[in-house]
Point group: C2
DNA sequence: CACTTGCATTTTGTATACAATATGCCAAGC
DNA sequence: GCTTGGCATATTGTATACAAAATGCAAGTG
């Protein structure tokens, strides 16, 4: 939280295990709701139970898995309510990021974002969904970085990871995709114009649209959510 | 996150240890920046190192302490920037809570809040600062509960605990106190009128005022912050 | 035949021994 | 006199043994 120290982040064993598990959860190697057997995972990850359990704690803190007393850990399975709630908070956080970003943004930042926007539009034109998602995420991360609020960044990343664990394939039809790209263009314009209120509103609407898309996907295609691939 | 299960929350040993440490940190038994020696704490809490370490992880997740690899844990010491950032996020979260609460509030809720407001004004009239803080917190908690967003509630509580760990004694002079009480009255009016935008703005301004007060206290009275008692 | 009860097995929780790492001190060299 | 290297001590990190709890199955009972 305090940016004044720079420890050489040597990855400890629990940290490494947590990172591996995080990837497994987000990329689907571990299904939502899956029960995590400690001894079995110990063998698979090549660590003993103590560091594995510390990794469990870290992931539980991130909301990626839940720990039931005397009954072990399992991958979190988000209910539609959780998703609705999560996106509502995400929207508020992104809105704040927009407001703060306006106050600190430099011309260099704007140029950088415009370059990313061009990449985004190229991916859109080529129907390259994975690239689109990757660049989309880069833009939102960049905006959060410009906002320069460490607590916001931390909160945002944690919540984002939790929602990503859904591995939803939001039903991005042509119309919605076109609209999302247009919204991105408007956002950068608002940022360049230093119009915090407008940027905030755009970001909130953008997130709400995504919320609706994801919820619709969840309700209509439960099986695909459970079995489908990652959005990225 | 999912409210569909109701396990008998038997407090596990790590949980109990974490709760005890949390109290020590918030109430000042452990100073910000204090290094936590595992063996020493084991004796003081009457648990062995394994559950204590799990408690450390939980508190680290809440941001109440930081864990440095191979160098143990220490109570978090928030910088002024952290406080500024934390309150900015808190303001955005409370604003969202206000907007959501408007959509779900019942007449019963409003009656309950009006009763709390009466208590708040009584505490204010009697210059009872501890009671004021307690009731103030109850009102904000209530508002979050009415909002009915579990993710928001969780995020809010976590961040709140972290800022409380400061044990700041915000410099609440007469004018600021009067204003805060008046703001509370306006909030309840906005909620009763189902005016989400107004409530949101009020809450954000309210939090920003508190942010300013706390930052002023931090900058002017460092020694008192470090040695002083709790705000509650 | 459904339901309960007790036991065997599995799994998680805790304590502790041992290994790896960091810290502080003292002496030797510049 | 200051810095640097190495050693002793203290502290954290990891593995594992043992204890406690949960789970599943089977036999007994209404």
């Amino acid at each position: 939280m305090d940016g004044s120290s720079f420890p050489i982040a040597r990855s400890s064993l629990p940290e490494a295990a947590a990172e591996r598990l995080r990837t497994l959860i987000i990329e689907g190697g571990l299904q939502p709701g899956a029960k995590l057997n400690e001894r079995e995972l110990c063998e698979r990850l090549g660590v003993s139970r103590t560091p594995l359990r510390e990794a469990f704690r870290m992931l539980a803190a991130d909301g990626l898995l839940v720990q039931l007393p005397n009954r072990g850990a399992q991958v979190v399975a988000l209910s539609p309510d959780d998703v609705r709630d999560g996106f509502e908070v995400m929207a508020a956080l992104e809105g704040l990021a927009g407001e703060l970003a306006v106050a600190r943004v430099t011309e260099g930042d704007i140029a950088h974002l415009r370059a990313l926007q061009a990449e985004l539009e190229a991916a859109h034109a080529q129907h390259d969904l994975p690239a689109y998602y990757r660049i989309n995420r880069a833009i939102h991360d960049r905006l959060n970085a410009i906002a320069g609020n460490a607590v916001l960044g931390q909160t945002y990343r944690t919540l984002n990871a939790r929602l990503h664990a859904l591995r939803f394939r939001s039903n991005l039809n042509r119309a919605k995709w076109d609209q999302a790209v247009a919204e991105h263009r408007s956002m950068i314009a608002a940022l360049a114009a230093r119009d915090g209120a407008a940027l905030r509103d755009l970001l909130i609407r953008h997130l709400r649209a995504k919320q609706q898309a994801v919820l619709a996907t969840m309700n209509n295609q439960d099986s695909e959510i459970l079995e489908g691939g990652n959005e990225e």
